[in-house]
């Protein structure tokens, strides 16, 4: 029989938002073209453009989805009004690839 580890409480912000962080086996490195995210268990490499790299840096520093959107809006122009949707979609994609822990 395999023993499971006890579940750890999920970190939350003061407002109850879940704090995202990179998964244990996901390693980020800044590159000239943006960045690279290396999932060392599957040995898959994800190349990131500068915007995606900035998002991953923010996640690496620890933040919830709401503050991630706010920080990206501070940094980049949202002339089309798509920023929130795209940031949330990106976070969902990281989650789907097992690159986020919450």
């Amino acid at each position: 029989m395999r023993s499971g580890r006890p579940a750890q409480p999920t970190p939350k912000t003061d407002t109850g938002e879940t704090i995202m962080k990179l998964a244990k086996y996901a390693k980020f490195r800044q590159e000239k073209f943006g960045g690279v995210l290396f999932e060392t268990r599957s040995e898959k490499v994800y190349a990131l453009n500068p915007t995606a790299a900035a998002l991953v840096r923010e996640i690496g520093a620890g933040c919830d989805e709401r503050s991630l959107v706010a920080r990206m809006m501070d940094r980049f122009s949202d002339s089309g009004g798509f920023m929130e949707r795209e940031v949330l979609a990106f976070a969902a994609s990281l989650r789907a690839h097992g690159l986020l822990e919450e």
Partner: protein
């Protein structure tokens, strides 16, 4: 390892260092591609200062993933200090070992240091086949080492090299790996190089045996999906090398004496850590993959698959 949307040439440093830290080994396996064994340490292996200078460069360049292999890496005199250095600086470390020396205490120490995984070679589901393949080896010691790792909470991977006399055990070997608590199982075709050149007539499975072997693996991959990952490379070496010519992995193979190879399955050396910094070697690595001699070697391999017998006759690019 694949790099979607960009290639290793776009990266500022390697992502993965596979370091054969010593050629010394307590076993003398029939198929060992490095011809390791007792008394087989290179006379010019990196000394302690060179080892830690190299590790420092890796951490400075934020290389995220390192593996220690050999030979038997746990026999390196600074083994645990090296593990501590890498794990303590936020890189991930995999150790590739025969598992024979992994006592309860050593397994617990590896867990405390935070190794990402330990890969143990288990070429057989029985004492008979394992001990035949792993000369001086002991199936029970390998199993005990794996059990110690699992009990300590160290993630375990199993590596399996198929041969004429163990190829039929693949299904049981996958089951055994799962019973022992492994989270991954790796296998592929055994290479004609190193010790295998001398023992090939006793080792090489026939194509029909390989076909049955991969058929079992497909079924086992499905059976264990979601519980243990079963990885296998059906592709032959030639197809793999042709792919790598177009898509070099961001991986450096480091030999015990600090020479850096393009890839294990080619004889080409693109740097020497004793005399060159990592960034210079990384630049050489990019150029070396485009050297016509590399493509020619791969093409020649298509005509004569036994050229892999010369992989230890290094060619400096």
């Amino acid at each position: 390892m694949s790099v979607p949307a960009t290639g290793s040439a776009d990266l500022g440093a390697p992502l993965y260092i596979a370091w054969q830290v010593t050629n010394e080994c307590n076993l003398a396996c029939l198929h060992c591609i490095e011809e390791s064994g007792p008394g087989k340490a290179f006379h010019d292996e990196l000394d302690e200062a060179q080892v830690f200078s190299f590790l420092g460069q890796l951490m400075d360049h934020q290389v995220p993933y390192v593996s220690f292999s050999g030979g038997e890496p746990t026999l390196h005199p600074q083994f645990f200090e090296m593990v501590e250095y890498v794990c303590g600086r936020n890189a991930q470390l995999k150790i590739e070992t025969n598992g024979h020396g992994l006592s309860v205490e050593k397994a617990q120490r590896l867990q405390r240091l935070g190794v990402k995984a330990v890969q143990v070679s288990l070429d057989g589901a029985s004492r008979e086949t394992f001990n035949r393949m792993r000369v001086r080896g002991d199936f029970d010691l390998a199993i005990a080492g794996i059990r110690n790792l699992h009990a300590a909470g160290v993630p375990v991977e199993i590596n399996y090299s198929p041969t004429l006399f163990n190829v039929h055990e693949i299904g049981r070997a996958v089951d055994l790996a799962y019973e022992l608590g492994a989270y991954s199982f790796y296998t592929g075709r055994t290479m004609y190089t190193g010790n295998a050149v001398k023992t090939w007539h006793r080792l090489a499975p026939a194509e029909a045996q390989y076909a049955a072997f991969f058929e079992v693996l497909h079924a086992k991959a499905d059976e264990y999906r979601g519980r243990m990952r079963v990885y296998f490379h059906e592709m032959g070496l030639l197809e793999e090398l042709r792919y790598r010519l177009e898509h070099p992995a961001a991986l450096l193979i480091v030999l015990p004496n600090g020479l850096v190879k393009l890839i294990n399955a080619l004889p080409f050396v693109c740097g020497d850590l004793r005399h060159q910094p990592l960034e210079e070697i990384w630049g050489n690595f990019q150029r070396a993959w485009r050297d016509p001699r590399v493509a020619q070697f791969v093409e020649d391999l298509g005509a004569d698959s036994r050229k892999t017998s010369t992989l230890h006759q290094w060619i400096y690019l």
